[in-house]
C-alpha cells in the first residue's frame, strides 16, 4: 500500500498532517522522558536526606527504566490509535470535496488544445481590431479630403452663380454671347498686334541694312 502524501490536505492546512503528528509525538515523548527524569531526581534527593538509607541510585535507575518502558509502550500504542483517527477524520479532505480556491479547475477544464485554440482566437480578434482601426482611419482621412474638395467645388459653383446674378441684375440679355464675342475679338486683336510687331521688326532690319 503506497503512502498517501496528503498533498491536498497540506494545501489546505499549510502543513502535512503526518508531519504535524510526528511533531506532536516527539513533543509528548520528550515531556514523558523529562518528567521521569524529574521524578528520579526528586526521589534521589529525598533518599540523600534519609540517613542510613540502603537504596542505591542504580536501583532507582532500574525502577525508572521499568516504569518508563511500561509507559512508553502504552504511549506508543495509544498515540498510534489517536494518529489514525485524526488522519482519517480530522486532518483529511474527503475524495468528493473540492476546495473553493480550486473551483476554476472544475469550471474550466480546458485541455491543452482547447487552451491553444482560445489563445489563437484572441490573437485573431486582436488582428481584426487592428485592421478595423486602420480602415477607420483611412475612411476618416478620405472624409476630410472630401470636405476640402467639396468646399472648393462649391466655391467655383457659387462664383458661376454670382456671374449669372450680375447679368440678370444689369439686364444684359445675352451677356454670355457678348462675352464670347469679346473673347474672340481680343483674340483677333492679339493676332493683329503680333502682325504689327513682326512688321516693325522687319522695318528695323531694312533700315539697318540701308
Amino acid at each position: 500500500m503506497s503512502v498517501d502524501p496528503m498533498a491536498y490536505e497540506a494545501q489546505f492546512f499549510g502543513f502535512t498532517p503526518q508531519t504535524c503528528m510526528l511533531r506532536v509525538y516527539i513533543a509528548f515523548q520528550d515531556y514523558l522522558f523529562e518528567m521521569m527524569l524529574v521524578v528520579e531526581g526528586v526521589i534521589l534527593k529525598k533518599l540523600d536526606a534519609i540517613p542510613g538509607c540502603q537504596i542505591s541510585p542504580s536501583q532507582i535507575r532500574k525502577c525508572t527504566e521499568k516504569f518508563l518502558l511500561f509507559m512508553k509502550d502504552h504511549f506508543d500504542k495509544l498515540f498510534g490509535r489517536m494518529e489514525e483517527v485524526l488522519l482519517q477524520l480530522v486532518l483529511n479532505i474527503p475524495r468528493n470535496v473540492l476546495l473553493p480556491e480550486d473551483k476554476v479547475h472544475e469550471q474550466y477544464p480546458y485541455s491543452k488544445e482547447e487552451f491553444q485554440a482560445l489563445q489563437q482566437e484572441l490573437q485573431q480578434l486582436q488582428q481584426q481590431c487592428r485592421a478595423e482601426t486602420a480602415a477607420g482611419e483611412a475612411l476618416r482621412a478620405e472624409l476630410e479630403e472630401q470636405k476640402v474638395v467639396m468646399g472648393e467645388l462649391e466655391k467655383i459653383l457659387q462664383w458661376f452663380n454670382g456671374l449669372e446674378n450680375i447679368c440678370r441684375e444689369h439686364g444684359t440679355g445675352n451677356f454670355k454671347e457678348s462675352f464670347a464675342f469679346l473673347t474672340q475679338n481680343s483674340k483677333k486683336l492679339q493676332d493683329v498686334l503680333k502682325d504689327v510687331v513682326e512688321k516693325s521688326k522687319k522695318m528695323e532690319q531694312h533700315e539697318q541694312l540701308l
Binding site: 526521589i43 538509607c53 473540492l98 481590431c129 478620405e142
Partner: protein, 169 residues
C-alpha cells in the same frame, strides 16, 4: 487495554470537537495505564520507605505530564489556526455532501493546472475584444456610408461645373 480505535462521537460533531475528544481520550487512557499502583510497584523500594512521598511525587508527575501535553496541543492549534481551519473544512465538506464523484485534484504539473486558472481571464478578454470589434465595425460602416455619399456629391458638383463652363464658352 481496550480495543476502541475510534471514539464514539456523534456524527454531527465537527472536526474541532473530534480533535479535542480524541486528545482527551488519549490522555485519559495514558493516565489510566500509568496508574499509581503501577508506579508504586516499580518504585517498590522507595514506596516501602516513604509511601506518602511516593503518592505525592506520582500526583505531581501525572499532573505535570497532563498539563505539558495539553499546552503542546494548544500551541499546535494556535500556530496553525486549527480551530478556524477545522470549522472551514467542516463547512466545505457539508456543502459537498450531495456530490458523489471524486473531485478535481492537482495534477502535480503546474503548467497543466495553471491553464484552468487562466481561462476565466482569457474568456473575459475575448468577450471584451468581440465587443470592441463589433463597435469598430459598426462605426466604420457609418463612416463608409458618408464617404460614398461624399463621392457622389463631388461627382455631382463636378458635373454642374462642367455644364456651367460649357454654357460660358
Amino acid at each position: 487495554g481496550d480495543g476502541g480505535a475510534v471514539p464514539a462521537v456523534p456524527a454531527a460533531a465537527g472536526r474541532a470537537q473530534v480533535f479535542s475528544t480524541v486528545v482527551d481520550t488519549f490522555l485519559e487512557k495514558l493516565v489510566t495505564a500509568g496508574s499509581y499502583p503501577r508506579f508504586a510497584s516499580c518504585y517498590r523500594c522507595f514506596y516501602k520507605l516513604q509511601p506518602q512521598l511516593t503518592r505525592s511525587i506520582y500526583d505531581q508527575f501525572i499532573s505535570q505530564l497532563q498539563s505539558s501535553i495539553k499546552e503542546e496541543i494548544q500551541e499546535v492549534k494556535n500556530e496553525g489556526n486549527l480551530e478556524g481551519l477545522f470549522n472551514s473544512l467542516d463547512k466545505i465538506v457539508e456543502e459537498a455532501k450531495d456530490r458523489e464523484e471524486p473531485a478535481w485534484r492537482p495534477s502535480g504539473i503546474p503548467e497543466e493546472d495553471v491553464r484552468s486558472a487562466l481561462v476565466p481571464y482569457l474568456l473575459k478578454h475575448r468577450s471584451y475584444l468581440r465587443k470592441v470589434l463589433r463597435e469598430k465595425e459598426e462605426e466604420n460602416r457609418k463612416v463608409a456610408k458618408s464617404v460614398l455619399a461624399g463621392r457622389d456629391r463631388i461627382a455631382e458638383l463636378q458635373q454642374l461645373i462642367q455644364a456651367r463652363k460649357q454654357a460660358w464658352q
